[in-house]
């Protein structure tokens, strides 16, 4: 049964507190998005999360909310450190799935004659597809522990990229409380050959061009100008993260039973933040998050190699530069304002992006006065957005949306696109597609997603983040 929605204003909807809900739900959306939000069980999932012990404020959902398992995709929930819980289902299987953007001095027109060659080079340099592996990077057990402890910093130590890039990554590319020993041998076994690989599903590397700027001086600070080329990398912690989540769901089912936590959905299984299980999960999750930071860092390096070795460009010609790197699936200990004053909370973001406003001490000096860059991929046919976190995000524990959100299931998309030459259709729009499997391309057709402009419009309207730039795809590398 769907809990009713009450309209608060043009961009906010309340899920009233009832039954076992400890707090109300709060969904950010414009009215046009509501029909697709209420047609499945996503609102019920917002209500279920509101039942968890120690939840603070609201059970929140972003405009790209859709039906997940346990938490909705697009869900944000913060928990009190004393009374609250941590839930692997509130982070998801792909721990620290996230996005990194790189800006460049290349222009759409300048790149045009070599775009196909660049797409080929990226596809050759970035292993993609199910179970994709790097044959040139064999990690020992000790090296993998170094990745799990050091994240992107480990990669820099191995000669991939520059140390000053780390400033431009969320958490500087490493969760400091990561605990590699909390990660199972099976998880490490799955992850070891996969560092620096894209994976499949909705993961991608895109070459994009900036087609619209909403604040030119701020965009210039991020290295973005109309007509300039940027790169967007979307991937996570691969099999290592999936296994960490799996391992700890089993731990948390037992923990929830032992701690007497009544679960509205078993996928919401959890343990008190102060419990041994809770602390171990946070340590393992942090380690998986660091794997993901290092993974995106290695793929960013592969982009650089593709430009230099594939196209023969010198660094002064491409001037590739990290814009920012955001996490989509993560639980973090952060300071937030609550009715009891400013305090540390455990914020779960499941398909949501941190979006701290201007002046936040966690932001790199280069962007502190602007607000955090929020990277919002759309679909492979239309556009993506860059936003800047705004003061209004405080209401959502410093969060904004993470993408367009699906409107078709993968099987429905495949049926919808059956027989269509999707790659050729996109090529006719000037978009080069390289994919390990055609099945993924069909599942990821543009029509399978909501229009990300509507999602971004609601986030902007609600004051969570403001639009900075819109980018359109030129080439797409898929798993």
């Amino acid at each position: 049964m769907q809990p009713g929605l009450e309209r608060i204003d043009d961009f906010r909807w309340r899920v009233p507190k009832r039954g076992r809900m400890r707090v109300p739900g709060l969904i950010y959306a414009e009215e046009a998005l509501i029909p697709s939000i209420v047609e499945d069980k996503a609102v019920e999932q917002v209500a279920n999360v509101a039942c968890l012990p120690g939840i603070v404020g609201h059970s929140i959902a972003m405009p790209d909310i859709h039906w997940g398992y346990g938490f909705p995709i697009g869900g944000v929930a913060a928990f009190d450190p004393d009374e609250g819980v941590v839930s692997p289902g509130g982070v998801g299987y792909d721990i620290n799935c996230g996005v990194r953007m790189l800006s460049s001095a290349l222009t759409k027109e300048g790149l045009a004659p070599r775009l196909a060659a660049l797409a080929d080079a990226l596809f050759a340099n970035i292993p993609s597809g199910v179970g994709s592996q790097r044959r040139d990077l064999r990690l020992t057990a000790r090296e993998l522990d170094g990745v799990l402890a050091g994240g992107a910093g480990w990669a820099v130590g191995r000669g991939f990229g520059e140390r000053d890039e780390l400033e431009l990554l969320e958490e500087r590319g490493a969760i400091p409380w990561a605990e590699p020993r909390a990660v199972s041998e099976r998880a490490k076994e799955r992850g070891r050959p996969q560092l620096g690989t894209l994976g499949s599903g909705n993961h991608f590397v895109e070459v994009q061009w900036v087609d619209e700027i909403y604040d030119a001086p701020a965009a210039a600070r991020l290295g973005l100008a109309v007509g300039s080329v940027a790169f967007l990398i979307h991937s996570g912690s691969r099999g290592l993260g999936y296994q960490v989540c799996d391992d700890f769901l089993q731990v948390m089912l037992r923990a929830a039973s032992r701690h007497g936590i009544d679960l509205p959905d078993r996928q919401l299984c959890c343990a008190p933040l102060k419990s041994d299980e809770g602390r171990r999960y946070l340590g393992a999750m942090g380690a998986a998050a660091n794997f993901a930071f290092a993974n995106r860092h290695l793929m960013a390096h592969a982009v650089r190699e593709s430009l230099e070795q594939g196209l023969g460009l010198a660094p002064r010609e491409h001037r590739l530069r990290t814009v920012y790197d955001v996490c989509h699936n993560i639980a973090k200990l952060e300071q937030h304002q609550t009715p009891q004053g400013r305090r540390e909370l455990c914020v779960h973001r499941k398909g949501a992006t941190r979006a701290f406003g201007p002046g936040h001490p966690a932001l790199p000096a280069a962007y502190r006065d602007l607000g955090q860059p929020v990277l919002i991929p759309g679909d492979m046919g239309r556009y993506s957005f860059v936003m800047l976190g705004a003061e209004g995000s405080d209401e959502a524990f410093g969060s904004a949306c993470h993408g367009a959100g699906r409107r078709m299931s993968r099987s429905a998309a495949k049926k919808f696109a059956a027989g269509r030459p999707v790659v050729r259709e996109l090529a006719e729009q000037g978009i080069e597609v390289r994919a390990a499997g055609m099945g993924t391309v069909l599942e990821e057709i543009p029509e399978a997603y909501k229009d990300v402009a509507e999602v971004v419009g609601a986030v902007d309207g609600a004051g969570l983040a403001r639009r900075l730039a819109r980018l359109r795809p030129l080439a797409v590398i898929k798993g």
Partner: protein, 143 residues
């Protein structure tokens, strides 16, 4: 032992995939559900029941979550070995523990008709129900 494709129903789920499968008894249901999970990854009929063999033991608090633990263990085993399984046998099934085997071969996406990566088997909307002639499992996977 259950091998090759089994009859199942794919249900709509926006982000993920859900399926329902039926079998005459609980051990056969565990085997059939395993065949479905691998049929989401590849065309399971194209997977030869060898040369790889895996022994899997899973434990859980009760039989519904035991089904997920069993499917997760098989998936984790396959992914760690870069393999796919096409035949499954439950050797011992107790209310909170299952032991079984699976047979398959190294994953060859082209030859096996790769479809999609299954990241994990979830506990969301999980149900085991009695139906005429046996049992039905409802399982949601993350893809």
């Amino acid at each position: 032992m259950t091998s090759g494709r089994v009859s199942y129903r794919l249900l709509p789920h926006t982000a993920d995939a859900a399926f329902e499968v039926e079998a005459p008894d609980l051990p056969r249901l565990f085997e059939a559900a395993a065949a479905v999970v691998f049929d989401l990854v590849v065309d399971v009929e194209r997977v030869a029941p060898g040369p790889l063999e895996a022994t899997v033991v899973a434990e859980a608090l009760e039989r519904e979550t035991l089904l997920v633990a069993w499917l997760s263990a098989l998936l984790g085993e396959a992914m760690a070995r870069q393999a796919v399984f096409g035949a499954f046998a439950v050797d011992a099934l107790e209310p909170t523990r299952v032991a079984g085997r699976a047979w398959g071969e190294p994953l060859d996406p082209a030859r096996h008709g790769f479809k999609t990566e299954v990241k994990a088997v979830t506990y969301h909307d999980l149900a085991l129900t009695e139906v005429p002639g046996g049992l039905r499992a409802h399982v949601v996977v993350d893809i």
